[in-house]
Amino acid sequence: MKRLFLFFLISYVITTITFVHAENVTPNPEILIDEMSAATNQLNYDGIFIYRHNKQIDTMRIIHKKNHNGDVYERLISLTGNAREIIREKDQVKYFFPENKIAIVEKNRLGQLISSYIPDPIQSISEFYNFDIVGDGRVAGLDAWIVNIKPTDRHRYGYQLWIDKKSKLLLKSKLKNFQGVTLEFIMFTQIHVLENIDDLLLKSSFSSHNFTWINNIINTANYENNSERKWSALWVPGGFSMSDHSKDPMPTSKIPVEHFIYTDGLASISIFVEKLSERHKKINSGATNFGGVNTYSTLSDGYQITAVGEVPKATVKLIADSVQSSH
């Protein structure tokens, strides 16, 4: 009996030591990011985070659930400013803008999540970014690994991530320029990983009949294969390739706006091509920015070409200037 007790005791001690040791052994940064993407998709969690861009700080709550069938439900609620909500139910996303009483419903592009995941191996982007674990820290009361993702050229921005050592959830993220200046960041102030999440928490607090609904699922389907011209960017930074193309209905345009999406796996750039009406033939050309997102607009033969992305100003300008059409 004593021997059996001793055996269990030693086993328990070894298991505990191994577990604690495993949590503190510096992991491979690329594997850690893959684990983070998987955790973000598969776990049930409820957290509050702050989002800072320019000089503005906003607070939001995110609730994420994956049920037994593999269906994902998410709800993002703005806790400051306008009480906006974004609800994801399986492959549909609903955006509620209560200040204008407008709600938009659309199909989730590529079936991805609010807190996203793509199955691409991270090695495919290693050519353009260096990944390093630079230490550990503490966010929302949880111990985290700090991962630096530095670009190898000046066409893109870098990232600094705090990943929970235990759950592998992303706790804090900074978008940085080449000089190391933080352009925007998110940081959880509290986050709870839960066994189950009540479905009621994932329902919008708004009554849908009070809103004017814009159904982008139907609209987008009507606009397919209706192009007068074929537009393309003659230059994009190395590693970027077109991942999607759509025709987006927009309240500012009578006809849908062509939308090309390029990505290198981390950063993405959108190119919008909008035919201007006879009444509004001029545009505000030039650069603007929103936190870490830069935009650049230019005029080409009665069309406004705008490049938008989490890349430096020079990159969006070069891309927008390179866009050309062929009949």
Binding site: S268, E274, V293, T295, V308
Partner: protein
């Protein structure tokens, strides 16, 4: 160690050394010590606020006498197109008058009961008006102003819609996490 005369005087004024006959006799006979004694009392009265409202007439007489005895300095006279002092005086007067008018107008514009915050806001509005104010080079028609405002609004709305659509498309990226949706929540498409 023997104290010097000033220290003795200081002690005497503070009520010390009153029994020291040598000091008292020296004070009576020495004019320099008498003068120091007077100055110390003047300083003391000044510090305590005990000076009279009017200074004795003898003071002005003494001052006039000193000025009369001052040697005259001879120097060539400067020829000036305009006298500087009246201009400075005019400039100061004009500035004071302008400030007074602005102050009166500002006070008239303010409600009778205002909080500190609203005053700060008013100041910001006034500052911003000054920052953006300029005289137009040519008369601008109301229609042109309206058209420009409409164009600016349309440009902003267009750009905000691009930002929203870009953020909506951004969630297929591995690293993206919740950031693009956070942007959608904070961008105003109507702005």
């Amino acid at each position: 160690m023997k104290k010097d005369n000033n220290e003795h005087l200081s002690a005497l004024i503070d009520g010390e050394d009153c029994d020291d006959k040598d000091v008292l006799e020296k004070l009576v006979s020495d004019d320099s010590m008498k003068s120091t004694w007077q100055r110390y009392h003047l300083i003391g009265d000044c510090l305590r606020g005990n000076l009279p409202e009017k200074i004795h007439n003898n003071y002005l007489k003494d001052l006039n006498k000193l000025l009369y005895n001052e040697p005259t300095l001879l120097s060539p006279k400067r020829h000036k197109l305009f006298s500087r002092e009246p201009l400075i005086g005019f400039a100061i007067a004009a500035s004071v008058a302008t400030l007074a008018v602005l102050n009166i107008q500002h006070r008239n514009d303010m409600p009778s009961q205002v909080t500190t915050k609203s005053v700060v806001m008013d100041e910001k509005i006034i500052d911003s008006q000054f920052d953006t104010f300029s005289f137009p080079e040519a008369p601008i028609s109301t229609a042109a102003v309206q058209e420009d405002a409409e164009f600016d609004l349309l440009s902003k709305q267009r750009l905000n819609n691009y930002l929203i659509n870009h953020s909506r498309s951004r969630h297929n990226i591995k690293m993206n996490t919740i950031l693009p949706y956070a942007r959608i929540v904070t961008i105003d498409p109507k702005e």
